[in-house]
Symmetry: C2
DNA sequence: CCGCCTTTGTACGGTGGCGTACTCTAAAGT
DNA sequence: ACTTTAGAGTACGCCACCGTACAAAGGCGG
C-alpha cells in the first residue's frame, strides 16, 4: 500500500487518473534500491515492474564479443518504468536492469501488473504507450550518439541526464562506473572529467559529482541531451 | 482493398485473426516504394502506416552536429511496420523513415489505423506490441553494436539482415549507400567489401550485391545479427 | 564509337580512443 | 598510528577509422 503523494512522484503513475490509481495503490510496494542491484537479467524472468521515485536505473546489454563486456542502452528514472517486457508480452528481456543511482521506487508483481493493465485498460495503458515512444527516441538517439559523438560530448550528456533524474546537482558516481556506462576506458573519463572541472562545469571527489554549471555543461554535450529531454516532455504533455 | 494472400506477406498482419483482418483489408492500400522515398520526416506528421511486403525501410535520425549528418537507427522489413508514433500516440516521430530497398508495401491512413486498432482492440494491438518489444531489442543492440563492434562486423551484419528481409541473396545496393547507413566512409566499406568478397562471402558489382555464403558471412558479423533475428522469432512465436 | 557519369579501388597523413601500467592520495579498517 | 584499498591522474605506443584525394573501370546516352 502506498500513498498518492508517493505515486505522483513517478511521472507515469502521475498520468493515471484517480480511481484507477487507487486500485493500483493496493499493489504498489515501496522499495529502496542500492547501487548495483539487479532487477532482472537478460533472458530471465521479470518478477516485478519498477516505477523509480528517486532511484535511477540502467538498461544494459551484453556484447559478448571483446573485453568491454556490456554497454548501457537506456536509463530509467522517475519519468518511466523498468519491466516493459511484462507490458509488451513478447518474451524475456534482452537487457539487464540494474541500479545506477541508489534511491526509492515503487514496484508491483508482474502478474498483478498484467492483470491491472489489461482489466483497467485506461490511463495506465495510455501513459505507458506514450512512455514507450519516448524510450524509442532515447534509444534511437543513443545509437546515433554512439556513432557520431565523442567522449566529452557523451559524458557531458550523461551527467546532465542523471542530474535531471535525481533532481539534484550532486550524486554518487565513480569514474570507473561512468566509464562502464559509456563503454569507454576509465582513463578517458578521467581526462574528460578533468577538462570539464577545469572549465567550471563540474566538481568531483572520490565518488561524488557536483554539476556546478548546467548551461556550460550543455555546451560540452551533444544535441542528444535536449532531444531526449524534449521527447519525454512531449510524451507527458497534458497528461499530468 | 487487398487480398488475404498479400496481407499474410507481412508478419504483423499475418498474426491478426481472420475477421479482424477482413475489416482491415478494406483500408489497406498496396503501394510500390522506390529507393529514397521518404515516408515521414523527423517532427513531421505521419500520414500513413506502412506494412512492408518486399520493400525494406530505414529509420534514420539526424545528428545535427558534424558532417555525417544522419545515422540509421533501425530497419523495417516484412516483419514489421513503419509509423509506430501513430500507434503510440506521443507526438511526432523523432526519426525519418525512408526506403532502403525498393519493393511493395501495404499502407493505411493514420486516422483509419488509429480507429481500427482502438475499436477492434484485438489481434492487431497484440501483434504490434510484440513487434515493439522486438524493435526495442534491435535498437538496444544497435546502440551497443555501434559502441563495441568494428566496421567489418557491422557491415556483415547489415548485409545478412537485409538479405533476410528481401528473402533473396541478391539486392541493389551501392557502397556509398551502405556507408551512409553504417555511418562510415565509403572508402571503409570498399575495403571491407573487398575483403568479404576475397573470402568468398559476397560478390558485387556496380550497385548489386550477392550474398554467396551466409554461414561464412555470419562468422564475420557480430553476435548482434543472431540476437536481433531471434528477438523477432520470439515475438512472432505461436502467432501465425 | 566517344565522352560522361556513376561506382569502386586505393593511398596518405592525422587523430581519437584503446590497452596497459604506474603513481598519488583520500578514506576506511584495525 | 599504520596498513590497505578505492578512486583518480597521467603517460606511452598502437590501431581502427577518419577526411581527402585521385585514378580506374563499367555502363549509358548521343
Amino acid at each position: 500500500m502506498t500513498t498518492e503523494a508517493d505515486m505522483r512522484g513517478n511521472r507515469v503513475l502521475a498520468a493515471v487518473p484517480r480511481p484507477e490509481l487507487d486500485r493500483l495503490a493496493e499493489h504498489l510496494e515501496p522499495v529502496t534500491l542500492k547501487v548495483g542491484d539487479m532487477l532482472y537479467e537478460i533472458g530471465g524472468s521479470v518478477p516485478h515492474v519498477y516505477f523509480p521515485l528517486t532511484a535511477v536505473l540502467s538498461l544494459i546489454t551484453d556484447v559478448g564479443n571483446g573485453h568491454g563486456h556490456f554497454v548501457e542502452v537506456a536509463t530509467v528514472g522517475d519519468e518511466g518504468l523498468a519491466g516493459l517486457p511484462v507490458f509488451l508480452g513478447a518474451g524475456p528481456p534482452s537487457e539487464r536492469a540494474t541500479v545506477q543511482i541508489a534511491g526509492s521506487a515503487l514496484r508491483i508483481g508482474a502478474e498483478q501488473f498484467r492483470h491491472d493493465v489489461v482489466v483497467l485498460d485506461g490511463g495506465l495503458q495510455t501513459a505507458i504507450q506514450r512512455y514507450v515512444q519516448a524510450m524509442f527516441t532515447m534509444m534511437a538517439r543513443n545509437a546515433a550518439c554512439n556513432r557520431a559523438h565523442n567522449i566529452r560530448q557523451r559524458c557531458a550528456r550523461w551527467l546532465l541526464m542523471t542530474a535531471d533524474r535525481v533532481h539534484s546537482d550532486s550524486f554518487s558516481l565513480t569514474q570507473e562506473f561512468l566509464a562502464q556506462m559509456l563503454g569507454v576506458r576509465r582513463a578517458s573519463v578521467s581526462e574528460v572529467a578533468t577538462a570539464l572541472a577545469a572549465d567550471g562545469c563540474i566538481r568531483y571527489s572520490r565518488g561524488t559529482i557536483d554539476v556546478t554549471d548546467h548551461e556550460r555543461l550543455q555546451e560540452h554535450a551533444c544535441s542528444c541531451y535536449a532531444v531526449i529531454r524534449d521527447a519525454f516532455a512531449v510524451a507527458y504533455e497534458g497528461l499530468g
